[in-house]
Subunit: 372 residues, 2 copies
């Protein structure tokens, strides 16, 4: 077994208990769930596409298992607005600030990226910041929207207090993921999407569900000291993902860099969107940022893609270190997982299947996930 895949699968449901469902059935079920929440068809299709993107690519932390329940709960508790009137607060040739009117981020972010792409098409670059919007989902989705249009795509989301800054004893920043995508021709697209903590917040929840321990360097002790021994779990009670360490784990290993990357995400998503709460680092807050750079504003697109092919291929073909059988660039494993899952189905934990069964019954949606 390949090591890189093994690590990816560390966060996936073990094969022996997974129930594989047909992508088309899962997609249709998600769309119907969102529509039952009062969301217009078109937006429900977008939201389902963002979740399916994660589930197909093996980013299970951001797929239906972890997120759909939370979204449904958000709508049920009226914390999310199913029919937001998105509003452009301010706009220039290349920039916009969008008020999401309390809608879910997996719906507002793609709409914001559409604006950024349109601006980049006209002027070469486009960037949109989003305030007053819910969870952004797998931000790689939004970045890849631009890459599919022959552009460089950036997407970030900020908020929460999950990360303890280098030398700090209180959580101050979110896991603040950064996504970046660029197209290639023969090679799968480069697609980076990662938390600026050592590990995504949702992954801790997933590990808890799978009964697996935390690695050294992922979290701090309650006093802020990095835990470099690992294995602990106790303070991570349900719903809590506080005290995660920045990428780099300790100052000596570069945690000030992970910490700073998270600050950059807060600045772009929050301070630059005028979202509430970003005048302090110790409050609950949320904002998003998306940007697109049109590639042929710089170099011919065919030349760019050809060079990307060579660049990514030679990375992939780097001689591996002992115990490993290849080097993978970001987006490669995810692409392979998507190919596999499109054919073989998406593996879900039986608990998740049960949740769908209950939700479908309650909402009056036909349950088709375990249909052969």
């Amino acid at each position: 077994m390949r090591e890189a895949d093994e690590l990816l699968e560390h966060f996936q449901v073990p094969d022996d208990i997974a129930v594989r469902v047909k992508p088309a059935n899962l997609r249709s079920t998600i769309e119907q769930v969102f529509q039952k929440m009062g969301i217009p068809k078109e937006d429900a299709v977008t939201a389902a596409d963002v979740l399916m993107f994660a589930d197909l690519k093996g980013v299970d932390t951001h797929g239906v298992s972890n997120m759909l329940r939370a979204y449904v709960q958000g709508y049920n508790e009226k914390r999310l607005n199913p029919r937001p009137k998105m509003r452009i607060v301010k706009e220039t040739e290349t920039t916009a600030v969008v008020d999401g009117d309390g809608g879910l981020g997996i719906i507002t972010c793609p709409q914001a990226m559409d604006i950024a792409i349109e601006k980049a098409r006209k002027y070469g670059m486009g960037a949109v910041t989003i305030r007053n919007s819910g969870h952004a989902g797998a931000v790689g989705y939004h970045a890849m929207m631009a890459a599919k249009q022959d552009m460089i795509g950036w997407a970030m989301t900020a908020g929460g207090n999950a990360m303890v800054p280098t030398f700090g004893a209180e959580p101050r920043l979110g896991t603040n993921p950064i996504a970046f995508s660029a197209p290639a021709s023969k090679e799968p697209f480069f697609l980076f999407d990662a938390a600026t903590t050592t590990i995504a917040g949702n992954k801790i929840g997933l590990l808890r569900r799978l009964g697996r321990p935390l690695e050294p360097g992922w979290v701090s002790h309650p006093d802020g000291t990095p835990d470099m021994r690992g294995g602990q779990e106790p303070e991570f009670a349900a719903g809590s993902v506080r005290y995660q360490l920045p990428l780099g784990s300790t100052r000596e290993l570069g945690s000030h860099k992970g910490f700073s990357l998270a600050v950059i995400v807060d600045i772009l998503c929050g301070v630059l969107s005028g979202a509430a709460g970003f005048d302090r680092a110790d409050r609950s807050r949320r904002g998003h940022f998306v940007a697109a750079y049109r590639i042929d504003a710089f170099v011919p697109i065919d030349e760019f893609k050809k060079n990307m092919d060579g660049f990514l291929r030679t990375l992939r073909e780097t001689r591996p270190a002992p115990g490993h059988d290849r080097v993978v660039y970001a987006g490669l494993s995810e692409y392979e997982t998507e190919q596999k899952r499109s054919k073989l189905g998406i593996p879900l934990h039986p608990e998740v299947i049960e949740w769908f069964k209950g939700a479908c019954a309650e909402l009056g949606i036909p349950f088709t996930l375990t249909t052969k």
Copy 2:
């Protein structure tokens, strides 16, 4: 002594052997050295300003001690063009690709950032990629140029084969630093500038000169396996900084993220500039990227700076972990060092003073560094 400062000073000349020189004298000497290389006055002033920025802020790895010698050597060996004709290869409202005509990056990058700033002033955003250009110096300088103009600034430089990818056994990417700056009002500007390896390449050279060992997690063994024990130095013969680990050090700690950030830098600086060599990851190559986003294209500048003040202050005021006395955000220590060095002088290693003495004699420049 404060821990954060201690780490910063880990890379600085020890006080007991340092010779403190007056900033004005050092600046004037650097300007004259560059002019003796055949560089026009205006460009020499820029180049000196970039080096002084590093030396004043305590970024000694990118100041005169490490870099000036290398630049002088580059001019003497005709690898650098002292009078380049910079040329815009392609341009749109917001973007440009610049050919640096073999000039030094610390001169071409500020010129490119001027173009990006001008475009952002007109259209909200600007980005310039630079090919055919030498070493970019401390890229934080270029990012901060935008911040001083009330913009968000990005600057990156790619090239070389210093970083071994996650699971790889051969170096494929440079240390590929990313800089980002954003202004505040009362607080020192946020200014991030860091290699995507765990440590900047030049720092290894500086540690060698200071006779200090490497930390665990900074480099790999020759077979690509991360060295998590530390202390080694042998394979880092003069001039060689191969086999550095990506930020994150090991896959479990997130090295795939540092690796991917380096890939992003290669894509933006190289593939997007059409610079030679970026069609493969295993060759010598160099390119730069700078971008500016005009803040008031998004939110009023006063509101932005006020929110930055509160955000950065509350980060700084985070309760510290045991053994530390404060949390520092990127740019804060550097600002404090600049205040201190502006008054007390810039500490240089006696070896560096000797080099200046010799260089001044050879080039016919008055030696004023140790003048009281």
